[in-house]
């Protein structure tokens, strides 16, 4: 069986704690061949045991690219390193986590290796001949598309929540992979970085429940956040709320923010513009609280309350707390 390369996402590399999206990719990779994880950095450098986790979820091999020329720069060196690994292993596919960085690595890798690229897959299954067939959600979630790569090595970026991680022990053999990085690839560099304060809430794109607030909050997100916390949810926001400076852009749901597809999406004071829908339309269950009964968001909901979001969410938070006893 051929190898399937899985690029370990950069959030996992930061502290060695392998995150859910990478486990999902390993699970998907097993459908297509033998998963080989690609780890950029030193897996023994953190207090965690990333290699054990990768192996537990099916990694037969773990290629370690431990080279400051790769880790210190932006995406170009990572794409060069992966291209060298593709050259060496001729994998059945390369799976990369979707997201700004992942898509850029994939874009460069596709050009370098003369391969077709599919971005933002929400599902990947083996086709009749065993090659990967992807499912994507396009046009603001209005269509689903099945596609496959017809040339080179299929390079596929996969969205979070596209599979349920399943354990399946693999050998997890560590293999150092030395790379040579060109000067050109090192021409772009991060010169300053200001980490965002951790919220203690689940990651927006990975959360099972998301509670979002819009312009209707009037800038007061306290009820939205309290309701999110009582449900163990992530907090999201519309662009109007982000543009008003109430929430950082990292919390924006929609066309130019995050796409989320949770089990439950709660929209408070959000009208439901097409660009917002683009980021949440595929949620399993949708709930909205809006004081305007004609708000377009009500066209999407499984359950809606016409009313003031502050009082409704505050009362609902109390009721949930009571129920939990």
């Amino acid at each position: 069986m051929s190898e399937v390369l899985v690029l370990v996402d950069s959030n996992s590399l930061a502290d060695g704690k392998i995150t859910k999206p990478t486990l999902e990719l390993l699970t998907i990779a097993r459908r297509l061949g033998e998963p080989s994880a690609v780890y950029i950095g030193d897996p023994s450098g953190s207090g965690e045991a990333p290699a054990e986790t990768l192996a537990a979820y099916g990694a037969q091999k773990i290629y370690v690219i431990d080279d400051t020329d790769v880790s210190d720069y932006l995406v170009a060196p990572k794409a060069e390193a992966l291209a060298q690994l593709v050259e060496k292993t001729s994998p059945a596919a390369v799976l990369i986590p979707s997201g700004g960085e992942g898509k850029e690595i994939a874009g460069r890798l596709a050009v370098k290796t003369g391969s077709g690229l599919i971005t933002d897959a929400v599902d990947v299954q083996p086709g009749p001949d065993g090659t990967a067939v992807t499912t994507q959600s396009v046009f603001a979630g209005g269509y689903t598309v099945q596609a496959r790569v017809t040339r080179g090595t299929p390079i596929i970026t996969v969205k979070p929540n596209s599979a349920t991680p399943e354990q399946a022990p693999g050998a997890g053999t560590l293999e150092d992979f030395p790379v040579t990085i060109s000067e050109a690839a090192k021409a772009a560099k991060v010169t300053a970085s200001e980490p965002r304060k951790a919220t203690g809430r689940p990651e927006l794109t990975e959360a099972a429940i998301v509670v979002s607030g819009g312009r209707g909050t009037g800038g007061d997100f306290s009820e939205v956040e309290a309701f999110a916390d009582v449900l163990g949810a992530a907090v999201g926001a519309s662009r109007a709320a982000v543009d008003s400076g109430w929430m950082p852009h990292a919390f924006q749901v929609g066309q130019t923010g995050k796409t989320v597809s949770p089990q439950l999406y709660v929209a408070g004071g959000i009208s439901g513009a097409i660009q917002h829908r683009a980021g949440m339309q595929t949620s399993k269950t949708i709930v909205a609280v809006n004081k305007d009964e004609d708000a377009p968001i009500f066209e999407l909901v499984d359950f809606g309350v016409v009313g003031d979001l502050h009082s409704v969410l505050r009362a609902a938070t109390e009721k949930v707390t009571e129920r939990k006893g």
Binding site: L74, A76, R108, V111, V149, T285, F303, R323
Partner: protein, 265 residues
Amino acid sequence: MDAMDIVVCVKYVPDSTADRRFEADGTVDRAGVDGLLSELDEYAVEQALQLKEKDAGASTVTVLTVGPERATDAIRKALQMGADKAVHVVDEAIAGSDAVATSLVLANAVEKLGAWDVLICGMASTDGSMGVVPVMVAERLGVPAVTLGSEVEVDGSTVRIRRDGDVATETVEATLPAVVSVTDQSGEARYPSFKGIMAAKKKPLETWSLADLGVDAELVGLSAAWTEVQQTEARPPRTAGQVVADEDGSGAAALVEFLASKKFI
């Protein structure tokens, strides 16, 4: 700051508020739906114009688009906003091109333009929305790319952007020439003024074919795509749910009941 040659890549896309469709061959229906300049590329034009204003107008802003005849609508809008000149690459063979092929055409067009300093793109096209064309063009041209900027600044031969990432806000730098992509957080795009609309009529617009670029038609278009759409399916409309009015706190009670019935609590 020296005068720069700034290139802005803009795409003509189907209107995202219209009913977008697929053709039988799995390509986006571009004829049946009204098109316009991708809203996200207006931010790229805006940043280009701001860079030009910072050096008192000495720089030149060239609009570059690869698209059908009607893509001139998108070009005209960018010229009306204030770009100086435009290049439209149009060729029957290009129809149905994927990102890989589009980036090949764009990179060859940029090379034909001659010397340039900054190439500004939008963060993603509102139809394809892959957000990969900018890095692919950079890869082909062998230049650095700094992407998803919410602020752009050129300082001598360095371009610097601010990027609001998931875990951090970063400052990212590269040496010119470089590709830059900007987000919708980079600042509201201007509307064309009346003067701008009049002036645009006299601005130079060149039309290039694949032959002008020396790009083999075999390498582009639907038949050369490196990916294949097998099936497209409209998502079934969501079935209308229950909407209740909140009276004296009844809304919260009903909401919690609903969530409990779905086992969310």
